[in-house]
């Protein structure tokens, strides 16, 4: 019972932690961004799981269905996905510029090059 | 009577499609070099998807879903051979020989970032264009 009731949330927690681990532990900037993506997507999965109603169909009103999933989390996550891709695009642009001016996208290199001058 | 025959046909197509999908995936994992893996990949792309979409079309019945599935089929009919072509082409351009060895490139991860940057980025640039 507990397993089927909370399995989703536990996987979401594990996914979040995998993403967060990548952001903290990896020195490569691109990998950090991928980590951020995984982290954010896992939050999306959490919200959508909250919105699920057993037996409910997609929240498009029709004669065939009486039970629908909760539409509000869907709306929120649509916005959050857009925010996520906006952040990713900006971060990647920053990485390209960093690569141009530092010659590397590894955190260690950047830190040593900054302390040299 | 006809209905049950249709659903049996649909089930067979779906089952066969899934079989091709799985064997294609296994092929990508197990085959030794790029070109034979490509063969496995195009197997899933063509036979697998066509069979599955075909099976779904039989279960869909007359209506909008059937039309949409037809459109998807047509779309895949155009894109997947083209994708395969582009993949082979870029492999050829980056001088990937049969046997899986890439000419003149260092193994990724070995050595500094700089030393293996150029060949890799060139390949990627091409892969990206596909």
């Amino acid at each position: 019972m507990l397993l089927s009731a909370l399995y989703n949330y536990w996987v979401v927690v594990l996914l979040m932690m995998t993403g967060l681990y990548m952001v903290i532990a990896q020195g490569n900037l691109i990998k950090k961004i991928i980590g951020l993506n995984v982290f954010q997507t896992s939050v999306f999965i959490f919200y959508i799981s909250v919105g699920k109603v057993t037996g409910g169909s997609a929240p498009i009103l029709s004669q065939l269905a009486t039970v629908y999933s909760n539409p509000l989390p869907h709306v929120l996550i649509l916005t959050a996905i857009v925010v996520g891709i906006a952040t990713t695009a900006l971060a990647l642009a920053l990485v390209l510029r960093i690569r141009q001016s530092y010659g590397s996208v590894e955190e260690q290199d950047i830190l040593t090059r900054d302390s040299q001058c | 009577m006809i209905e049950s025959a249709v659903s049996v046909l649909a089930a067979m197509m779906l089952g066969l499609g899934s079989f091709f999908m799985i064997s294609g995936a296994l092929g990508i994992l197990r085959f030794p070099d790029f070109y034979s893996r490509m063969h496995a990949a195009s197997m899933t792309d063509t036979l697998g998807t066509y069979l599955i979409i075909g099976g779904l079309m039989f279960t869909a019945g007359w209506g909008l879903p059937l039309f949409k599935l037809t459109l998807i089929l047509v779309f895949i009919f155009f894109t997947s051979p083209t994708a395969g072509h582009a993949l082979a082409k870029s492999a050829q351009l980056s001088e990937l020989r049969l046997g899986g060895e890439q000419s003149g490139s260092a193994k990724p991860g070995a050595g500094g970032v700089h030393s293996d940057q150029h060949p890799d980025s060139r390949d990627l640039a091409r892969a990206d264009r596909v």
């Binding site: 996520g84 900006l90 990485v95 | 082409k89």
Partner: protein, 332 residues
């Protein structure tokens, strides 16, 4: 059956995420991130969140890997290991994880219809939106009317990101020689050129369908904008950046990005002009349901224009960097 699907998809997601963290080949990581996006889109689909699934498929498996690949093409695919930080990261991640797990224990069970989230605000959307707004897709009603201000914010976020990318990368490519051809422009790529040409119009048509069908089925301005941009991106991949910029030059795209936000903002102001609150569309036409309908179409158009323009802008700027990198490489 639903449960098995759910558990399978989530387990696949977990495996993918762990492999992304483990691998040191960035190219593999990006490809897996695309798969991760596609898997989560399938998961959203199985949860009945069709609009979200559509968007996630376009973003997580489409635009985001595309941008990452362009970045990789310049920055290289190898990555160094960083063992010192791993233990610290593991510890902090474990602490946060345990806190979260303990929080889940008192959560309402997954899928339970009498969880507080399904009892308070949401029922009104499901029962009254047909009467108040008159369109079947409840997600669109909430997105474009009940919580339209969030969506305005979302459009502004996209606009901000586009401008940010432009300010970082956009203004340096101008002085470089522009006659560098895309490798695909050679005659040997006949197949690609023909198929590319054939595919662009249906893609545009599909974008328009998604744009204007969003009230009845999954879709809407954002998804349509992305698809529309993909049409142009495909064209530029096959025929080169210059070919696209002959049709839509960059200042036009930039102006369109701003225009979409302005359309949205102005529709909101029309609400004030008609004597109601900001973003209240009821006064736009004789009866309030028609007014709502009109308003939703107008703002979805604004969303579509901005999203398409920004996606194109970002892609153009990124691939101009790629061309620039190649020129520099040839020169050295």
């Amino acid at each position: 059956m639903e449960l098995i699907l759910d558990i399978t998809l989530l387990s696949l997601l977990l495996v993918t995420a762990v492999y992304i963290a483990w691998t040191r080949d960035l190219f593999a990581a990006v490809m897996l991130a695309g798969i991760y996006g596609l898997l989560s889109a399938s998961f959203f689909m199985s949860m009945g969140a069709v609009d979200v699934a559509f968007t996630e498929a376009a973003v997580g498996a489409g635009i985001s890997p595309l941008l990452m690949l362009s970045t990789l093409a310049i920055c290289g695919r190898a990555q160094r290991a960083n063992p010192q930080r791993a233990i610290l990261a593991l510890i902090s991640v474990t602490v946060v994880g345990l806190l979260l797990i303990s929080a889940t224990l008192e959560m309402p069970a997954f899928g339970s219809p009498d969880a507080p989230a399904h009892l308070h605000v949401a029922p009104r959307y499901l029962t009254d939106s047909m009467r108040e707004i008159g369109i079947p897709n409840v997600v669109t009603s909430v997105l474009a009317s009940y919580r339209a201000f969030d969506t305005l914010g979302e459009v502004v976020v996209i606009f901000t990101a586009g401008l940010g990318v432009l300010s970082l990368l956009g203004l340096q490519g101008e002085t470089l020689p522009r006659q560098v051809q895309s490798p695909m422009a050679e005659p040997s790529h006949l197949v690609l050129r023909v198929v590319g040409k054939v595919l662009v119009p249906p893609i545009m048509l599909f974008a328009l369908y998604v744009q204007f069908h969003g009230e009845y089925g999954p879709g809407g301005g954002f998804q349509a904008g992305v698809i529309f941009a993909v049409g142009f991106i495909l064209y530029s991949l096959v025929f080169g950046l210059d070919a696209v910029e002959r049709i839509v030059n960059r200042s036009l795209v930039q102006a369109l990005a701003a225009l979409g936000v302005l359309v949205y903002g102005t529709v909101g102001v029309l609400g004030i002009v008609s004597g109601r609150n900001y973003l209240d569309y009821s006064g736009l036409a004789g009866d309030s349901v028609t007014g709502q309908h009109l308003g939703i179409i107008a703002i979805e158009l604004g969303v579509g224009i901005t999203v398409a323009a920004v996606m194109m802008l970002v892609f153009f700027v990124f691939s101009a960097q790629l061309v620039r990198g190649r020129v520099v490489q040839h020169a050295s």
